[in-house]
Amino acid sequence: MQSFDPANPSQPHHKRDVTTTPLQALTLFNSDIVFGWSQALAGRVIREAGNDESAQLTRLYQVLFSREPNKAEKTALKEFLSNEEKLIAQKTSNGKFEVAVPTGLKDTQQLNPIRAAAFVDLVHTVANSNDFAYRF
């Protein structure tokens, strides 16, 4: 976590230095911990919004940003889901079935695992976006 430049306790501060480095980006984008959080958040959103995809996107934006996605964002997200679903389907077509699905769901909630894995990727990406990881 040192790459996120926490305030040095041995120095006086009136303000934390703001830094933006590729190592921070790598950590947020590739760390298993952050990816695990994305799986959990995807699970929560599906739990709370139900199986309707449009409602899921809205709920995700409410949770992360306290607002609803605008039209351009919704279009981008839906296109991403369809494309990502195809990519994951290709990956799993070789017989090895390994995808990261949302976590924390009740057994009763039926999901298409490939579409759900695509949704995890979507949540992970949105959580990496400037709207979330930036001080607006």
Binding site: T19, P22, T27, F29, A72
Partner: protein, 482 residues
């Protein structure tokens, strides 16, 4: 009324966060930098011009961790051999406070044979036969001195110029002053020999009060040198790519509304950099394309020197790729558990036999390789340690810490090769002429000078005070410069 529509309401009435966000967008919060430097945040690593033209483009900082006895490597003292076994004459101890723990033992001479090498006639012991081949490439500082008697604080001083954590390391200053010469790799890389990071740790490559972007990046041994360089196991490369594309698209929607926010742009850019780094970093440390002859040159065919040789070969590859500052911590041979550093309080013969065998061939190989590739024209190699070791013995067959007189050397671009600056007294305990003493600050000032930087003009405003790499000390040792 839901949260979302409440925000909607506030936005529509023109009193809400939209207005506030636009305002912060125009006035980025930039910490100690001040708004005038906001442009730097677009790319704080953009290449910057030095104060004056310089030959050195990269520095390889070879930290001999644990403090070698330079009395047994370079600083030949016939009188010490003659007086071995007797008490240290009182006159030699004047002005120094010796360690209380180990006490001052009898003068000690190790079992060395000495020879002069090259046209310069520099002395080398039998422990460093490969480095000796490059006698005429080196400029010795035989009057090195420092402060402190324990490793961690003196190592900190060697790297940051302070006995307490918090100041930027030399590499961080260099990166701050010159920026990066390769946008796909970190400009300041730390390499360590061994499975775990050196015990003194990251405070030695910290950026201190400088922005964190200038800190050293420790490359882990092995094929994946940076943490989180690999994507999570369950995600295919194609998924990664499409996620990054979506990220770009979402971020573009936001940045389009805030064109004046340089910090926001920097964040977008950092993801693009990270994406490129995922490919560039593993390639930079991959030795698959190196020939067997090159590997042998670096001692990769000897289990004692193989792991250190690997780090130095990586260092050369990083130099080729424009990395500015490469800090190499000597560590210990792979699998070695008894001797983990040069810290020979006892069994100096065995310790230094092993440590010298670990570094000698790789360092000789590095100098030869840099030379044959023309890289020595633009690279500075610094052989350095936190302090030296005493002329008197400890535990019968070891030596204690010596901050009063030891040897370090420089090689490469801008250096007056084949010279020696300063000397120690007849038994090699203290710097002979105190006016010629070279403290860590002076070494830093000299290295900066070689990079085209005036250490007095390399400044950063921290808490209202203009700080520089050499604190309030430092002089350039002109006699070392070509």
């Amino acid at each position: 009324m839901s949260i979302a529509s409440r925000r909607d309401f506030l936005l529509k009435t023109g009193q809400g966060l939209g207005g506030a966000a636009a305002l912060t967008g125009l006035i980025p919060s930039v910490g100690a930098f001040g708004a005038a430097h906001a442009a730097d945040l677009v790319d704080p690593l953009a290449p910057k011009q030095p104060h004056f033209p310089a030959k050195v483009k990269s520095v390889i900082w070879l930290h001999m961790n644990g403090a070698p006895s330079t009395l047994d490597l370079y600083d030949h003292k016939p009188d010490l051999v003659k007086l071995a076994g007797t008490d240290v004459p009182a006159s030699f101890l004047k002005g120094i406070k010796t360690s209380t723990q180990g006490g001052v033992g009898k003068l000690y001479a190790s079992n060395r044979t000495w020879k002069q090498h090259g046209e310069s006639g520099a002395w080398f012991s039998d422990l460093v036969p490969s480095i000796a081949q490059h006698a005429d490439k080196l400029a010795f500082i035989k009057s090195s001195m420092t402060v402190g008697a324990t490793h961690d604080i003196s190592i900190l001083k060697l790297n940051t110029g302070d006995l307490n954590p918090g100041r930027p390391s030399l590499g961080a200053w260099v990166t701050y002053a010159l920026g990066s010469a390769n946008p796909d790799l970190p400009p300041y890389v730390v390499l360590y020999n061994g499975k775990s990071e050196p015990s003194a740790g990251s405070v030695n490559w910290n950026s201190g009060f400088l922005p964190a972007v200038y800190q050293g990046t420790a490359f882990r041994p092995g094929a994946s040198p940076i943490l989180y360089l690999d994507r999570p196991e369950l995600r295919a490369a194609t998924q990664q790519r499409s996620s990054l594309d979506l990220l770009k698209r979402l971020n573009a929607l936001g940045t389009a509304q805030r064109p004046a926010d340089t910090e926001l742009l920097a964040r977008v850019r950092s993801y693009e950099l990270a994406d490129r780094m995922q490919a560039a970093a593993p390639e930079a440390v991959d030795l698959a394309k190196e020939t067997d002859a090159t590997k042998a040159l670096y001692g990769l065919d000897d289990p004692t020197s193989a792991s250190y040789g690997t780090t130095l070969l990586r260092a050369r590859r990083l130099v080729e790729r424009g990395v500015r500052f490469i800090q190499v911590v000597s560590g210990a041979p792979d699998g070695e558990t008894e001797y983990t550093s040069w810290d020979a309080h006892s069994d100096l013969e065995k310790n230094h036999g092993l440590m010298a065998r670990m570094v000698d061939k790789p360092i000789g190989g590095l100098l030869a390789d840099l030379k044959s590739r023309g890289l020595l024209e633009s690279t500075l190699v610094v052989w350095t340690s936190e302090f030296g070791r005493t002329s008197y013995g400890q535990s019968g067959n070891g030596r204690d810490h010596n901050a009063w007189g030891y040897t370090q050397w420089l090689a490469g671009a801008g250096i007056k090769a084949g010279t020696t600056y300063g000397e120690t007294d007849e038994i090699g305990l203290q710097v002979a002429d105190k006016d010629k003493a070279v403290d860590t600050y002076d070494l830093h000032a000299t290295v900066l000078q070689l990079l085209g930087l005036d250490h007095l003009k390399t400044t950063f405003l921290n808490n209202g005070r203009s700080e520089r790499p050499t604190v309030v000390y430092g002089k350039v040792i002109k006699e070392l410069l070509a």
